[in-house]
């Protein structure tokens, strides 16, 4: 089984894999079938023609996810580089404190977050949909990128220094491009995480115009929009397709990150 595999073992393995996959396919198939019940493809067109602001919600989801990814990469890459390659007083202590906050849920700060958002006038704005959730994902991004920077040697840094380049040059034109594999992991998982996020918009979006797709499902379930199950299932399918495509497209490039991506849950 572990080194070479007999014919009998091969058949058992294959059958077990097919059974497990079937168990996974049943709920997925159920959703797809349900989304075509009653109205067929009209369930999908209904979402776009009934006056429900689905296009606005899709735009919100895309915009918020892209902005979160840009913010996460833009902030975590230089920070991870500093924690890995630059010597400054208190470096390891600051890094440790950031790592200790890694698994605290955003929900624990619900009251201070509400107060901050009210004070800044950010309630129900894109700033509130982007910043808190992205901030809570930063520690894991830093961890992934720092581990990668650690694995790259210091030789290139010394070489650039001799040529007279400062740390910004060293990070921007040498180490950031070299960290592409880890950065791709961060981009993909940060995007999927943001696309799927339910908690952050639950707390900070107050009107339908500021809802993202996960919240669209909640809107559709309310009686104002008829709470029609087949329409809700169609919306679920629309929401699931981008995550699945992105995962399948980048599958080959997602090594270690696939495990780290699960950290945030």
């Amino acid at each position: 089984m572990f080194k070479s595999i007999s014919r009998k073992e091969r058949i058992i393995t294959q059958v077990l894999l097919i059974i497990i996959t079937a168990i996974y396919l049943i709920p997925m198939g159920f959703v797809i079938l349900s989304s075509f019940k009653v109205g067929g493809i009209k369930n999908y067109t209904y979402l776009f023609t009934s006056g429900f602001p689905i296009l606005r919600m899709i735009f919100n989801s895309v915009f918020v996810s892209i902005m979160q990814v840009l913010l996460i990469v833009g902030v975590s890459s230089p920070a991870a580089f500093a924690f890995s390659k630059i010597n400054f007083p208190g470096r390891d202590k600051i890094f440790l404190v950031i790592m200790l906050t890694m698994s605290i849920s955003l929900l624990c700060f619900i009251t201070p977050l509400f107060q901050t958002m009210k004070f800044l006038g950010w309630m129900n704005t894109y700033a509130a949909l982007i910043l808190p959730a992205a901030t809570f994902w930063l520690p894991i991004a830093i961890l992934i990128l720092k581990n990668y920077f650690d694995s790259l040697g210091n030789e290139l840094m010394e070489a650039t220094k001799i040529e007279g380049g400062g740390y910004i040059t060293i990070w921007y034109s040498v180490y950031a491009p070299l960290s592409k594999p880890a950065t791709v992991n961060v981009i993909v998982f940060a995007f999927i995480n943001s696309w799927n996020d339910y908690l952050n918009p639950l707390l900070f979006s107050r009107t339908e115009e500021m809802r993202t797709l996960p919240m669209a499902v909640i809107s559709l379930s309310s009686s104002i929009h008829g709470a029609r199950p087949e329409i809700i299932f169609a919306c679920l399918v629309i929401m699931a397709i981008p995550s699945i495509i992105i995962y399948l497209f980048f599958q080959k490039h997602l090594g270690e990150g696939m495990t780290s991506g699960a950290v945030k849950g």
Binding site: F2, K3, S4, R10, T13, L16, L17, T21, Y24, L25, I26, P27, G74, V75, A79, A82, N87, F88, P89, R91, L96, I98, L100, T101, S103, I104, S105, L107, C108, F109, I110, T111, P112, L113, T116, L131, A134, T135, F136, Y167, W171, I192, N196, Y198, L203, L213, P229, F233, L236, M239, A240, S243, I244, Y247, E256, M258, T259, G261, A262, G265
Partner: protein, 303 residues
């Protein structure tokens, strides 16, 4: 000749320190605004009675929020639920994750398809998972009850999410479905760290499947087990989305979790002070678990 050189070294050192701080300034600002400020805020607020609206109405009440929290029968319920959730999701996901990783190891026909199917739920929103399972658990048209009725097992049909006896297990099953793919990936990665020579030696010694699994694979995956267990515990403490979407802590508080108690206290019952006490409790446990995880990783690197 010596002096300017040491001066330039000093200048280089200073440039290094300054750029170090410059590079971490953005994250310190963001974490400061949303995390560190929040830590002080909830800690202070946990000693006050407050509805969460007008700052003037804040009243100091000492440790009362904590004593209410300890005496609240709901707290015990939430802790019991989290422990049941933790133990069952972690053990089942470990078992299934390892099994699927082992089954995928010989790279049989279609193995990347099987792997993708099991991993896809990890990439989906909890909203999608929750709505899918609500469809399966639905009492009249849901697949589970329809299947049971067709098998003539009408007595087994339930209002799955509306029955205090089954609601928690419904949540646990949905969670296992969503996250087993992640554990599978951990175990696939873990299995590659066990050297082929060891398997070869085992085969030469005539060790069968179970013997090899028990004496080589299981102990060889020790660091994977610890990662999976710690992450499972961390995730359980934070669990909110799946519970809120499926049951909102009901029926009759039978599926309350610390996070749902916190959300209800602050967002529905205007008990910001009491909610802050729950937050402090959750934060302390999360930070302790992170510390544990960091020390595990250190040991792993040193080993």
């Amino acid at each position: 000749m010596k002096k300017p050189k040491s001066g330039s070294l000093l200048r280089m050192k200073r440039a290094e320190v300054l750029s170090g701080y410059l590079f971490i300034t953005p994250i310190i600002i963001l974490l400061g605004l949303f995390v560190f400020y929040g830590l002080f805020y909830v800690f202070k607020l946990s000693f006050y009675k407050w509805d969460g609206f007008m700052p003037e109405t804040m009243v100091f009440r000492g440790l009362k929020n904590y004593s209410i929290l300890i005496k609240d029968p709901l707290s015990l319920k939430a802790i019991v639920n989290v422990v049941i959730f933790m133990l069952s999701t972690v053990t089942v996901q470990m078992f299934l994750g390892l099994c699927i990783a082992l089954l995928l190891r010989p790279k049989l026909l279609g193995h990347s398809f099987f792997k993708a199917i099991v991993y896809i739920p990890v990439t989906l929103s909890t909203v999608v998972i929750a709505r899918t399972f609500m469809g399966l658990y639905e009492p009249y048209f849901g697949i589970i009850n329809v299947f049971l009725r067709n098998m003539g097992l009408d007595s087994l049909t339930r209002v799955w999410l509306g029955d205090p006896k089954t609601a928690l297990w419904c949540i646990i099953i949905a969670n296992i479905f969503q996250w087993t793919g992640a554990q599978m990936v951990f175990y696939i990665a873990g299995l590659t760290t066990i050297s082929e020579d060891v398997f070869e030696a085992a085969q030469i010694d005539g060790a069968g499947f179970w013997k090899t699994l028990k004496s080589i694979v299981w102990p060889g995956l020790w660091s994977t087990h610890t990662t999976v267990i710690v992450l499972g515990i961390v995730g359980a403490i934070k669990t909110f989305d799946i519970v809120w979407l499926l049951t909102q802590g009901g029926p009759g508080n039978s599926t309350q979790f610390p996070a749902t108690m916190l959300y209800q206290a602050v967002a529905q019952n205007s008990q910001a002070g009491y909610g802050a006490a729950i937050s402090v409790f959750m934060i302390v446990i999360s930070v302790l678990l992170s510390a544990l995880q960091i020390s595990f990783n250190k040991k792993k690197q040193e080993a």
